[in-house]
């Protein structure tokens, strides 16, 4: 249920960016969400619908791009896709890894109308 807190932060960012760029109407927001982020997209959409009601972002289309989990072995430097949540290097078996992607919770772009011709 922390999706509610995340939806509130998302709304703040959308309102802030829309004001800054003079958007009168917001049509679409693109997000990236990592597969390893503890966020359920459906739940986030549901919460966003609630918190954005009666705001300029009401009814906005949210498009979510899922980002796969990748890691780097800090022993042999191999970057690889993490499958089945096994964070072990497929080349050397080393477990010392750096997470490269998979925890994203990012607003990528906002589309809307400026009200100008």
């Amino acid at each position: 249920m922390h999706e509610l807190a995340i939806a509130e932060s998302l709304l703040e960012i959308i309102v802030d960016e829309s004001n800054r760029h003079g958007l009168k109407r917001i049509n679409k927001v693109k997000l990236q969400i990592g597969e390893f982020a503890a966020v359920v997209p459906d739940s986030l959409m549901f919460c966003f619908e609630m918190v954005s009601r009666d705001t300029a972002a009401a009814g906005v289309v949210i498009e979510i791009e899922s980002v796969g989990v990748t890691a780097r072995c800090d022993k042999c430097d191999l970057s690889f896709d993490v499958e089945n949540k096994i964070f072990l290097c497929p080349r050397c078996g080393e477990a010392a890894l750096e997470l490269l992607s998979g925890r994203e919770l990012t607003v990528m772009s906002i589309e809307g109308e400026t009200g100008e011709e």
Binding site: H2, L31, A95, L105, T106, S109, E111
Partner: protein, 236 residues
């Protein structure tokens, strides 16, 4: 006119900013801070009680307690003679950087070497919210089962220490600790695993040594008094 605005902003950036401010405050004061997480009932408060009993006199400890309701846990800790402040989230499933910032104002940090933040009992949501801590630590009690690393991988992946608690109950459960170790190794092989019982005190020595080493690294505890005093003077 329809336009597309490129943004690229982390949705949790507001929390990350507050967490960074908290972290700065901890570092200036030379305090080692852990974010303690687990399911409800795994033994977070019992771990604190036992750890306080063992480290009292050597390390200055303070506790921030996070719960949905009640000040029961903070009262348990205060009985041990250490500072404790209770945060009630009123239904909120995790602590965040702002709650910690507010709680810090009711603690006297001058004699504190170790601050333990007991998060809301939950294996999901607290994993996404940094509080400014130096280390994330979790407890899994054997009664919860050895399948938990498969079901809540993020929590197990981000914690630098896993305490497997209630090992005195192993004869009464089907939990296989070697399976926990193997499953956690695949997620987070750098993480340390300590098997403990808060009830009997079994297995506490390695956990206590780990805490003491970390506190000393951050300039606290008996060994670090001189260094810490100096740092505090400099930061004034």
């Amino acid at each position: 006119m329809e336009i597309k605005v490129p943004v690229v902003r982390n949705i949790l950036q507001a929390n990350e900013r507050l967490a960074a401010e908290n972290r700065k405050r901890f570092d200036e004061a030379g305090i080692f801070v852990v974010n303690l997480m687990s399911s409800p009932g795994a033994g977070k408060t019992s771990l604190l009680e036992k750890t306080i009993d063992e480290l009292r006199g050597r390390i200055g400890i303070a506790v921030i307690e996070g719960d949905l309701q009640s000040s029961y846990d903070a009262e348990r800790i205060q009985k041990k003679g250490v500072q404790a402040v209770q945060i009630n989230t009123d239904g909120g499933c995790h602590l965040d950087g702002n709650m910690i910032q507010i709680a810090l104002d009711s603690l006297d940090l001058s004699s504190v070497d170790l601050l333990i933040i007991e998060n809301v009992g939950n294996l999901v949501c607290p994993a996404e919210f940094n509080l400014g801590e130096h280390e994330k630590i979790m407890i899994l009690s054997v009664a919860e089962g050895d399948d938990k690393p498969l079901k809540y991988p993020l929590m197990f992946q981000i914690c630098s220490v896993l305490l497997v608690n209630k090992i005195d109950l192993l004869p009464y459960t089907d939990c296989d600790v070697s399976k926990i170790r193997e499953r956690v190794r695949q997620l987070n092989a750098k993480g340390k695993i300590f098997e403990i019982s808060c009830r009997t005190g079994d297995g506490f020595a390695p956990w206590l040594s780990w805490i003491e080493e970390k506190v000393a690294e951050h300039g606290g505890g008996t060994a670090g008094q001189a260094g810490r005093g100096l740092r505090r003077q400099q930061s004034k």
